[in-house]
Symmetry: C4
Subunit: 314 residues, 4 copies
């Protein structure tokens, strides 16, 4: 993670470009996505189809699979119908309506693309046989692609870090510190977790937005076993020194958090991002200690949603 | 691996949270899993289904596959039965009992979901054909998922490091040192192995648990070819200085080991964890040298279980 | 990324070998591929078939799949024909021409290799059955390979970094600087991007080619969210100090860029390479600021092709 | 890669254990495999089946697949035969020998396990149908495993680094240096290549074997585009200072090389190992410069086997 050597770091170091933003913007969406839309190269060049498919919601993906399945079968049924229903054995021709013939070919298509091939309906002539040979190859390849997409979804690195709803200014040593808590929602372990915290603020006079690094007391932990309170001391070196919540709101401040950890089931480095806008800051508050229980087997039990809890101080 | 700069490292640096543990706890289970149960977000949000499936035992997974296969066929047989057995060609209707009809549809379902499709039984009407088309698609997708899970299991990084059963206090230079041995069980190579050793102890007065780093004489080896004896010298800088086994038991001490290595078959970074509780410590003992034999071809033969062997020193 | 400690770095450090190049060469092709052809070990040993398949164009791959499918079916139809058409049930023998018999066996082969197996044609004798059993196994394995190739293509790390068409010499601080811009074409994020810039120049007297490092003002950004202007200050320490565009053309200069970033959808480290030859350099020019618009939802919109735009100065 | 801080590095730092080897041993086989056989935990625990399958030779793997296919079909044909051939439709019973019945069931089994399912033979009773349902599920799962193994083989990181046949002692600066050359056999690129060279020597008096680091002039290159001559200067700091080839043979010296690089097609870190025994050393020799040709398109052509070539000096 790039270490910003001094507090005069300008926006170039973060890669957010070099523009003044007159309106209020949020650089990270609540789900951690960078809030930038890129265009200019045509839809296809700005889109990564595999990326879209493995990050789409599961319901969208199911819908897409089912509708593709129906569509392809409708198309091939049309091809078979154009070839002529008399080129297929096993379909009753005499007493059938055209719709029923088309439907029989639709089901024949479904049996072909899945390589099911009951065979009670079968192609007779060359044209019908060629179409069926093409469809079964297409079926196998589509299925190979589906396997890839499903595996890509499963094996995609996930961090599942949960952030406290608020970021607090709490008493710390002789002064104060910015604090928020993170925990791991899942049962697998996150190890070698490393945090990097930045603040984006507009200068109230020039309206120029700067991105500044916030130094952490401890930037890395070996395990994210229970919870981790990330602390930035607000001392003379801090860009927040002397600023109140209202000042931060005025500056349209956004605290940007990058956490990098290793999911040790897959040995994958995972990345989590989060941001707090100034209105999510609570002054004069302190996080409640996380309740832990020792189970009969000597294990420690926690409830990860407890990381949101804090006490307001006088 | 996070380097702890001084011995005043508190528990936050390890991510084990900030609670006093009044009872005896074991932070790492003997299999290296972190002994923390996380809840608070509902079962689904605290579980990663793919992770559970790729880390389940092989017998559990086989049982799950077989029972799902039977269950899905029971369900689809029910659907086909509801559609009506007369909508299927090839099933004897007249002299069959209802059970036999259901069984015939059960086998038809099995032939459909595997896309086997003998075709001696086949759907006739639209409803039966639609159900079969749905089942064959479901079969292909389930199979795609099974392929992903099986590949995920196979390709999952494994370290297979074996730890000596005991941790010893052995004579070392002019004083003593904490020593344990590790070896690689498998024939593939572990390279660039790196160890990190910590001790978790309760303060006997305040009952507050601290996590302290134990400095190693050599923390990294290029190959884990035979065995590696990991050594922490107990000198004035060591948090163990002046403590006996009984003191460590009183402090509910746990020695936590993190090893990181690269499995060079897959170029995967693998992680291994282990812990020793104070009662697994042997004082005044020394590991036996590992027996190695040179084979006729100039190779070196070892028995990895020999790493457990030690001699008690009078 | 290897840090070149001083400007006396010779070509060995880059791995481009130690030859004088008398002709004009381009070390990186415009697509970023290293412009070296390796031979000497036979075609097979210098080629990685899987690598060729996953990096081939999609149209080439489709052509290859279709032609293999036709070829294998032609071969197996030949085998079946040699076995004898009378060993297959369901083929009309009496009134068929030899071509029609062969075609029927060709379609039977297609139904076998895809494991479709309608069964209106089926093998009778042992020879025919063995050939079909072999073909169906071959079909499954080919399909397994196709699944692997398709997944390999999908999951292959992609960086999709776009480089400004030209590299500029712009006013910078009190002097001048070499500048070019990069952006990310796609909607996924590139994080921890790191650049390394080198120049390859021939000595006009000795004709010996040197590879020199160009020190960057900022070599790493946390996000490649919008655009990143990469800047090399041309001061006394720069190997470009005192050289004009014509001098660079005379020296057959090539500016070689290596960018390393992390695609956070897949947690993959991706590499991008680019080079500018001296004639692509524009003196006395300055990049236009990138137009950004804030959308109604607080997102920032950019057009990535705007990174090419620059203004000529007086 | 572990940096050995001084030349007093003992064998523990390399992980080769702590034994004196009285006979001549070779720690790395010519193919780079570590020459250690591990046992002591039972064959299964010392073997990683997936690892064996993805690293087996292609001919062994094909043989294994074909023989498994035949074996499983022989077994299931036996099961079907035990169930009774009369429970299968489409098999001629009256005039068939027992062998022909068994063969018909063998082919039925092959059609079932591949999910081909022509259906000219089909199960009638419950027992036959259950066996066929089990076999088709088994077929799908075996095929899923085969897909995983084939993909694992394809996508396995490969480095394909070729080493010069000999290691030379060549004149270097005012003294001499140990030199060997490496190149990349394949068309894909290896970037950020990093070398680590060690020597293993027995002390002629104590017979104790030491592993010592050999400092390299340049230990990292950005590209392995053509060839890379790796140089260890034999000066006063070198453990080789004052030793001749005969001394090295007497000490049973082995020069162990570890190269780490990134294959940028797959963004995989790949590892290559090689060793030279003392008899492969050539004194007073110098590598020939690699012949490079510039092609019409400005590319550079090399023959990688030229890295073996050297000239003997007077």
């Amino acid at each position: 993670m790039a270490k910003v050597k001094n507090n005069q770091s300008d926006e170039r170091e973060l890669g957010f470009g070099s523009k003044n933003y007159s309106e209020s913007v949020r650089f990270l969406r609540p789900d951690g996505q960078v809030n930038v839309k890129r265009s200019g190269m045509g839809w296809l060049n700005n889109t990564d189809i595999f990326h879209s498919l493995i990050s789409a919601s599961i319901s969208k993906l199911i819908l897409l699979i089912i509708s593709s399945y129906i569509l392809i079968n409708l198309i091939f049924a049309g091809v078979y119908y154009a070839v002529g229903v008399e080129n297929f054995g096993g379909i009753e021709i005499e007493d059938s309506s055209e719709l029923n013939k088309y439907l029989a070919l639709f089901f024949f298509s479904a049996q072909t693309i899945t390589t099911l091939g009951y065979g009670h309906i079968y192609p007779i002539g060359n044209a019908a046989s060629i179409a069926a040979a093409v469809e079964s190859l297409l079926g196998l390849l589509s299925f190979a692609i589906a396997t890839g997409i499903l595996y890509g979804r499963f094996s995609r690195p996930k961090s599942d870090i949960i952030y406290s709803k608020n970021i607090l200014i709490s008493p710390y040593k002789d002064g104060a510190a910015l604090m928020f808590r993170v925990s791991n929602k899942k049962q697998y372990e996150l190890i070698e977790s490393e945090a990097n915290v930045l603040i984006s603020m507009s200068d109230p006079h020039t309206n120029k937005r700067a991105f500044l690094n916030l130094k952490l007391e401890i930037a890395k932990v070996n395990f994210l076993a229970m919870s981790w309170t990330i602390v930035h001391a607000i001392n003379e070196e801090s860009p927040l020194f002397g600023l109140k919540k209202d000042d931060l709101i005025l500056r349209d401040a956004e605290i940007i958090i990058l956490i990098k950890a290793i999911n040790d089931t897959y040995s994958q480095t995972v990345y989590s991002r989060h941001s707090y806008k100034a209105h999510e800051l609570i002054e004069h508050a302190k996080f409640k200690a996380l309740k832990t229980e020792a189970t009969a087997e000597g294990a420690v039990k926690i409830s990860v949603t407890d990381i949101h809890l804090f006490d307001l101080l006088n």
